[in-house]
Symmetry: C2
Subunit: 246 residues, 2 copies
């Protein structure tokens, strides 16, 4: 029988609250003193639990004010995928999105496999092209589990990215990333406005929420216009992530 430590229990308690929506993005969670009383533990133990969740990016702590559920959630410690619109704006470029498709589709075997759930009959499917200064930089092909989000088809994705929207409705518990180099199809090449023979980075991402696959996304980035970057230092505990356009 595995011994469960107090600080792990506290983390689980908070994680469950986040998954069940007890605390939504931006909400203030109970203070350390409140958790000490309600959970009957010492403050140092509460502090460690909350600090670790904050370090992983789920919570934001503001001394003097409180602890809040992160609004801009980092997907993972391993591969931080920030909102593409933020990345572009950070780069002082103009962001624009074009919605190429937004519909409910019958679940095809090919895609269904990724959801690891054969009972799913239909899926939301969106295809969105993201521009930086009117140049296409990302082709986003996304399937969403309807069980996670009933409102998906009603969203105006020229104003909000699917990522931003989904972070509000489905607190993610798990993320999987796969990076590959691929050659785009003729159609994709045309959409992305790239020359023949130019490869793309393909980032495939699946997210889980409440034990089920929530989304399955394929992000295609034209080489030359995009690359993933990351820099890490042991001292000073800060990591700089970059998304470079050229």
């Amino acid at each position: 029988m595995a011994v469960i430590f107090q600080y792990e229990k506290i983390k689980d308690y908070i994680l469950t609250g986040l998954e069940e929506g007890t605390w939504q993005a931006g909400d203030k969670i109970p203070s350390e003193a409140e958790l000490v009383m309600s959970l009957n533990v010492s403050r140092m133990t509460v502090n460690r639990a909350v600090r670790e969740l904050a370090n992983s990016g789920l919570l934001v702590r503001i001394p003097g004010a409180g602890t809040f559920v992160a609004t801009e959630r980092k997907a993972a410690q391993l591969l931080e995928v920030r909102s593409i619109s933020d990345q572009i704006k950070e780069n002082n470029q103009v962001y624009k999105a074009t919605v190429l498709k937004l519909a409910i589709v019958k679940a095809i075997d090919n895609v269904l496999e990724e959801f690891e759930d054969t009972t799913i009959k239909s899926l939301y499917h969106s295809i969105i092209l993201h521009h930086a200064d009117d140049v296409p930089v990302q082709l986003e092909d996304r399937f969403v589990n309807p069980a996670i989000d009933k409102t998906y088809l009603d969203i105006d994705f020229t104003k909000t990215t699917p990522n931003e929207h989904l972070m509000q409705v489905a607190p993610l518990a798990e993320v999987e990333h796969i990076i590959e180099a691929i050659m785009p199809t003729k159609r994709e090449r045309k959409i992305l406005q790239i020359a023949e023979g130019t490869p793309c980075l393909l980032l495939t991402r699946r997210t889980w929420s409440g034990g089920h696959v929530a989304t399955y996304v394929r992000l295609k980035y034209p080489s030359k216009r995009f690359r993933f970057g990351t820099r890490f230092s042991y001292r000073g505990r800060k990591s700089v992530h970059r998304a470079a356009f050229s």
Copy 2:
């Protein structure tokens, strides 16, 4: 004046010892009790400092035995680049390396820029092809700062990878990664034995040691044979990294 906390001081103390070689890979560092006495702090403070360094992969803690300098160092929390030979062996494939070049070269402007040091006159240059079951899976093009390692040219890289060797001589303090999709040149295509029109993943990595760029590497992975993968869960604090061959 920024206030420096005790646990940060302790981390710096250990990091400095690691950089200066006071404790080498595999060595046992002072126990918590010893650090408590020599640094005049409480054990909880020591524990936090050492735990954080262990979490970042620099140290390995074995309850009952002690704390040791990690031998297999994870490059970063962000993009774990394990030894290619280990990855291949883990995949139950036979690893083999071919040394295509191992020499001292004049520093060319192009490469010198990456080292951010115009005083460098020459560099070690190695080109190594890594195979899995006799199929080429990685073309490694590496430049090494001679100031970091005088023995580089004497190493048998069919038995040790440059990565493994360099981790012994130069404890890395900082890492930069950039991932791109590229088309290999004709020559590279021939070396990697891939068909025309097949893209490659290009992972460029620079490492710093003692404030200077230690190495500059370009790793080319044929698409279809390699992809980076990562999976992350908030619960259970474990991350699974995968390197998939096919």
